[in-house]
């Protein structure tokens, strides 16, 4: 950063000192405030005009600032829109904020600058009631269409008990059903060609090929998919809202369930973001344990991907083999952490416990067992000529398209760019490990599958290095805010007892500030953007998930292909519904 012209200085020179207000955040990411009218100019400059541009809109969200106490030095604002951009050439992010005022704030759309902004802006409207001017198709995205209020506003109740008695009279239910009906005209679909009608096929919300509750309405011309519109939100559980009423520590179990196939992997960005806020340094042993467990979960998640993709193109057997391998990995997770799919085992400042006796033989056995199985699967799946026929050249996209739509992780790497944060911005100790970043060539289904399979091999390599070089030392940071406090330090006198009691019951109060942490999780990049108001709970927890961005791309990938291809593409995207809807 030092040798490059600082982007903030560059923007100030371009737009004038008064327009660009810099803010310092705990994570050190350049953060600027611009006014609403200037927003589009600044963003367009950042994307299109600046040398080494910010090509991707990584995240777009809002914050309800009305109840925030620590606002010193920030522009007055009731709601803030936050744009998180990524520059690949600079290997740097920038956060652009817009202060909005009033009960019904408005902000201009940026969908013409980034296509991917579409869903994010709908989410901002849905969750915060921020009116986006000029948006091509504004409607609720996560909440049902009839929902009253905007859930992430601070005045919206978080608990069902705050909401009064639930009733659903028949006529209301009917009206809602009617509202839910799919109207092709709303989506700008043509109903008919010159001498034929299109078929509208409702793919989901319950469909064996859809991997969960998601609705994809297809406009079909014979077997050809002319257009798809995706409806999400069936799996929405208000994970971000829950972040505002759980203590920093008790929110960890929720993170496991965001990408429910990724288990512990999800906790990495969250605990790291909290640690950044609190300034906790994690000891080496905890870092390596975390990496080992996280990579184990990458293997676990990718095995599910591999098997279900094979199943989506019709192969019945691979999924059973891979699930039984996954069980072996779960046995290790269970022995170490106690849980299997969602062990909720990382802690602020380290991990919950030290490794148990004999963990190394279990891991070593798994490392010996897995590569042989992977070679077998190559023969069964990747080298199968029918599989190749079904996947090569299908559902492909370019690097530029991927960056435009905010694709990350294996999805983006399949197009040929080696954008892996574990290499580019080594976090949590990844700089100490040797591994390769596999990349594809044309971003089709086959490349995505291949990248996933290679990543399993690389993850095994990393786990092996963890096994051989596990450092000694403490598994938890020696920091007053590391949670939960150490048991051996309590029960000595009343002060240590009080300290322990407060930390266990209320949890730590994390210093006010903002920090985001992006981690390379199983499906792509997951970002936790945390705002602390100096309390025992988060003021705002924003979770940017890869699946949300990926599934928004679905129409781009599947237009002009067949229904069978659509099923294969869905399998190759590697999404889970909880990761989309949160």
């Amino acid at each position: 950063m030092s040798e490059q012209p600082d982007i903030v200085a560059e923007l100030k020179a371009m737009f004038g000192d008064a327009e660009i207000n810099a803010q310092t955040t705990r994570d050190g990411m350049p953060t600027i405030w611009v006014s609403g009218p200037k927003l589009r100019d600044v963003l367009r400059y950042l994307k299109q005009e600046t040398p080494r541009p910010y090509k991707t809109l990584h995240d777009l969200t809002a914050v309800d600032e009305r109840e925030r106490a620590h606002k010193a030095g920030l522009p007055p604002s009731d709601f803030t829109m936050v744009y998180h951009l990524v520059s690949y050439d600079r290997n740097e992010d920038i956060r652009v904020k817009v202060p909005l005022s009033g009960e019904h704030p408005s902000v201009p759309t940026v969908t013409d600058i980034w296509k991917s902004a579409n869903w994010y802006e709908r989410e901002a409207w849905d969750m915060f009631g921020v009116n986006v001017e000029g948006h091509p198709h504004m409607r609720r995205i996560l909440m049902p269409l009839w929902w009253k209020g905007h859930p992430l506003r601070k005045d919206h109740p978080a608990r069902a008990t705050e909401m009064g008695v639930f009733t659903l009279p028949e006529e209301v239910a009917e009206a809602r059903d009617e509202q839910n009906e799919f109207r092709p005209d709303e989506w700008g679909w043509e109903r008919a060609g010159e001498d034929f009608d299109y078929m509208v096929l409702n793919f989901g919300p319950q469909h064996p090929g859809a991997h969960g509750v998601i609705r994809m309405v297809c406009q079909l011309d014979g077997q050809e998919v002319v257009d798809v519109s995706t409806e999400i939100g069936f799996h929405h559980r208000g994970a971000e809202k829950m972040g505002e009423r759980q203590s920093w520590h008790t929110y960890i179990p929720y993170t496991d369930r965001i990408d429910y196939l990724g288990g512990l992997m999800n906790e990495v960005p969250y605990v790291q973001a909290v640690e950044t806020l609190a300034g906790i340094q994690v000891p080496d042993r905890a870092k390596v344990i975390r990496i080992m467990m996280a990579e184990l979960f990458r293997v676990i998640s990718h095995l599910v991907y591999y098997g279900t993709l094979a199943q989506d193109v019709g192969a019945l057997s691979p999924v059973f083999f891979m699930f039984s391998d996954r069980e072996r990995a779960f046995d290790i997770v269970e022995a170490i952490a106690g849980g299997r799919m969602h062990p909720m085992w990382f802690r602020i400042g380290g991990v919950a416990q030290d490794l148990p006796k004999g963990w190394d033989t279990m891991v070593a056995d798994f490392l010996k067992y897995m590569p042989r199985r992977l070679r077998e699967y190559d023969k069964l799946v990747l080298k199968n000529s029918i599989f190749k026929k079904r996947t090569m050249g299908v559902g492909d996209f370019t690097i530029a398209e991927g960056q435009e739509w905010g694709a990350t992780g294996p999805m983006l790497r399949a197009t040929g760019i080696d954008w892996d944060l574990r290499k580019k911005r080594p976090y949590g100790g990844y700089d100490q490990f040797e591994f390769d970043v596999p990349t594809g060539k044309c971003g089709d289904i086959f490349d995505r599958a291949w990248v996933h399979v290679e990543e399993i091999r690389q993850s095994l390599r990393i786990i092996e290095q963890c096994l051989k070089n596990m450092p000694a030392g403490s598994y938890k940071a020696d920091h007053p805010q590391a949670t939960p406090p150490r048991k051996e330090r309590t029960m000595h006198d009343i002060e240590t007892l009080i300290d322990h009691f407060v930390h266990v019951s209320w949890g730590p109060a994390i210093p006010a500030g903002e920090a985001s942490c992006t981690a390379e999780t199983t499906k792509g990049q997951t970002t936790y953007y945390l705002t602390s108001d100096g309390s025992t709970m988060s003021y705002r927890t924003r979770i940017r998930t890869p699946s949300f961005a990926h599934i928004q791309m679905l129409p781009v990938l599947s237009r002009g292909l067949t229904v069978a291809d659509l099923a294969a593409i869905i399998g190759s995207i590697d999404y889970v519904l909880a990761d989309i809807d949160r």
Binding site: P208, G209, A310, V313, G314, A315, N384, K389, R390, A564
Partner: protein, 317 residues
Amino acid sequence: MSPALSVVLCIVLLVILMIVGGLLTWVERRLLGLWQDRYGPNRAGPFGVFQIFADILKLLTKEDWIPEFADKPVFVLAPAIMLVAVVAPFAVIVFAPGILITDLNIGLLFFLAMSSMTVYGVALAGWASNNKYALIGGIRAVAQMISYEVFMGLSLMGVVIIAGTFSLGEIVERQQSVWYFAYQPVGLIIFLIAGLAETRRLPFDLPEADSEIVAGFHTEYSGMKFAVFFLSEYVGMTLISALIVVLFFGGWMGPFLPPILWFVVKTAVLIAFFILVRAALPRYRYDQLMELGWKGLLPLTLLNLLATGAVVLAIGK
């Protein structure tokens, strides 16, 4: 054969076929389990074999439900057509010397004619369900089965040329010295592929591809009507296997064991092969299936036929 005996044999055969169909639901699940590193049904009775009765009981006690939006008479008729079309060809199959219902002199043609009828079952089921997934499944089935029927028949003509007859009984007897798979390897492979397509099994199960179109043409079926579809799939698989045994593997012939046992063993091996294929392969896409049929297998079949004819002509049988 006296007419009375024929009737008795028909009834016995019908009962056996139903039992075989039921048994195969269990066999397939056990075999798939074996190949997929899992158990399959193993709880009810020894090796889980009573699972069959549990399934039958379950299907029988289900409500016989017809969707309101369906075309009722056709909806009911479709599974019946399916079953009849796969059961009828067994009339011309020669199980062992003397154990047969009738040895038509156009036996093979009768089989081909009846197997073409199954497409009506599938197409009508898809149409009458009045469901889009069923319709897509039905359309896929029609396209697939009609395309594959073309060279299914042609692939058998090599055997007919060599044997000089359409009668299945005579074809078996002509294989005294050499089984026909040795003369007609290409014909055998093509007929196997066509048979997979005809019975709609992987890699050609497009009409019921679950990850794409839910359950295809039988999406709306439940209870016994669904069971009939299921049964006819298994009987169809048995039929194709039995036919391959008769045409290419010498029917009942073999040393030591009684002829009927040889027939059963050979058929069982082929059925297991069908199931193995299902465990091993992914599914083709619609257009790839058509391409494979019309551009790959049809020319190959014609070449095979041409070569067989030329050789037979040259040797002068």
